[in-house]
Symmetry: C2
Amino acid sequence: MAVVLPHTTEQVQQVVRYAGANGIPIVPRGAGSGLSGGASAVEGGLVVSMAEMTHVEIDPVTRMAFVEPGVINADLKEAAAAVGLWYPPDPASIGFSSIGGNVATNAGGLCCVKYGVTTDYVLGLTVVLADGTALDLGGPRLKEAAGLSLTKLFVGSEGTLGIITRIVLRLVPQPPPSATMVATFTDLDASCRSVLAIASTTRASMLEFMDNVAINAVEDVHGYGLDRTAQAMLIAQSDQPGETATREIEAIAAVCRELGADEVLVTADTAVGETYTAARRGAIPAVESKGRLLLGDVGVPLPELGALVTGIAGISTRHDVVISVIAHAGDGNTHPLVVFDPDDPDQAARAEVAYGEVMDLAIRLGGTITGEHGVGRTKKAWLGDYVGEDVVRLNRTIKDALDPKGLLNPGAIL
Amino acid sequence: MAVVLPHTTEQVQQVVRYAGANGIPIVPRGAGSGLSGGASAVEGGLVVSMAEMTHVEIDPVTRMAFVEPGVINADLKEAAAAVGLWYPPDPASIGFSSIGGNVATNAGGLCCVKYGVTTDYVLGLTVVLADGTALDLGGPRLKEAAGLSLTKLFVGSEGTLGIITRIVLRLVPQPPPSATMVATFTDLDASCRSVLAIASTTRASMLEFMDNVAINAVEDVHGYGLDRTAQAMLIAQSDQPGETATREIEAIAAVCRELGADEVLVTADTAVGETYTAARRGAIPAVESKGRLLLGDVGVPLPELGALVTGIAGISTRHDVVISVIAHAGDGNTHPLVVFDPDDPDQAARAEVAYGEVMDLAIRLGGTITGEHGVGRTKKAWLGDYVGEDVVRLNRTIKDALDPKGLLNPGAIL
């Protein structure tokens, strides 16, 4: 029906009250970069865009950020960096996703293997409930035990319980410069065993995986001179202070060599390290240049990573669609990219089936259907298979209690 | 009415179903060490004690712990340490509080200034709901975005939403040995300004405060030779790798010297460091030897720490009761210990009033009435003053949705 661009919490309250009185559904929207359709407009509804709510305030003394939901992740990082601080969560979309969306989906990223996910940095929220009430939950305090953990309940709620209008975030000091390693493997399984060994014995600040499809896609676009025959590439970083980073990255390199990597490069130079990580950072756009993508984010317990990657290769073969796997390997969270030609309806249909089978496989391996993108509208058919009907019912109980008319982001999650 | 000691989730389900069918209230209880009365029995009710559910399993490969709720915090730490891992949350009660209780209250401790609180380590829970359904929420995965954040909702719920029967925790590698500093101050305000400066410029792994009453109480009991005239003592640690710890602790010492500390001692020797921290670790029992305690845990934004400590001294004078302040200063969380003689009804009444006024003061300073102990039964009269009636109503909405008969820990929080 319309897009509304509020500037204040009070304006959000007015919109919600109007919608409530008239039975109009509301879809809150950050930057619209979500990958599960959680911010997609619904028929006859209002989209409440946070694009105009972009105020950022950093308190360097208490190391906290007070931000409005429309702030782009990278802009927050930049404001924090200006005073020597760091907001760790780093979804690949840092340049164009909003903090409000990051909180609504409990976004992750590359740093999470060491630094955790969005919820670990959220200390307080202002939310507008379905009846238009605005609440301050939590606040600028590291410890809070007064009543139910409502702040954390709203993190990851994908706009279905209320609209987030202000966020208090914990910041940490900027980490020291990183040492970086890149290793290529002919043996896919050896790369997965290396991931497990590295994660069990070191404290890498980044541990990423790219498969052969991704390596070749990056090579096609950028021509970095990567080994096109490699079945897997691992990119790791350590940001320990002083010489410890070099020692840790050498330990990581030693694991890869011992488990059969073909080529292992190590650098303590951050500029050289940037060139090693460039391939990973450019991987999703490179694969996207091959066709349209269905981009998943299934995660498994780390010992099952090899089984997941191998199983996805089987799904790819069975349905004759390209699936590239790029992964935040260190935390078990993977991005299977199902590539298809939108003008080929048969291939598009096979891609949809493959996308679903990847989630079925993750569930069988004890994993999650979504580690960092949220359920939104694209994964809700799998939610029950994953969490079970009793947990779906508990989601529904809370949703109904907070939004009895069902006007907040209807059709998302449930 | 009775104490029940289940051994399994299924037995908890049986108890809950029996209680539900017969309208009997249930109070879940870990080790009974809570300081807000959250595990106190209610008239005609069942106490479900977790004392028999003490299984611990550590997976060193994925760095996770699978524990039953009756496990004592120190026993988990020991099991983790045996394979080089660490469970950070360290309430002063580590030796006798249970992990189930720690999760139910979102317990904190000394390490939180750097390492966060209990919720930051909880990846999954098994809970038995009021209708006897058992649910697995979350699990052994660092990233999870499938549906509402139910795992986090149960953390800090103090047994009012369900009974926790199994917990999946994230572990981290053991930190390097700590360097330690202790500093004494004649000027109380200078000690608080030092806390703020240290917290803003370093990454201390511990930053604790003791006032003159606590110093003298410890000296009375232990005779360590502390300066009885000091108005405040700060104890700080750094656990950065290698030489970085020494550099950081020297930076912390420099702040204290510059802001007017009388005596500053620094050591990189962990055994000597233990002697420095012994005074802090023995402080609450030492103050307790002076009388019965009302032990609070109010927290404020760090710039208000001085105002809180000074204001508490005023409350002490006004009501003629001893109040000692011991604090996890680095995260703004304090323990005002109101000391009274239980055989002196007038003094006991004044102590109660003072205990409440400390919470009123914390609220006025933008702080919380409870940072790490929970609301339980002793603080619920202040919950509305702190969070506001709209937030209390939202707590109630969720409580009623999950426990419509109100049988789970009735009278706690709400």
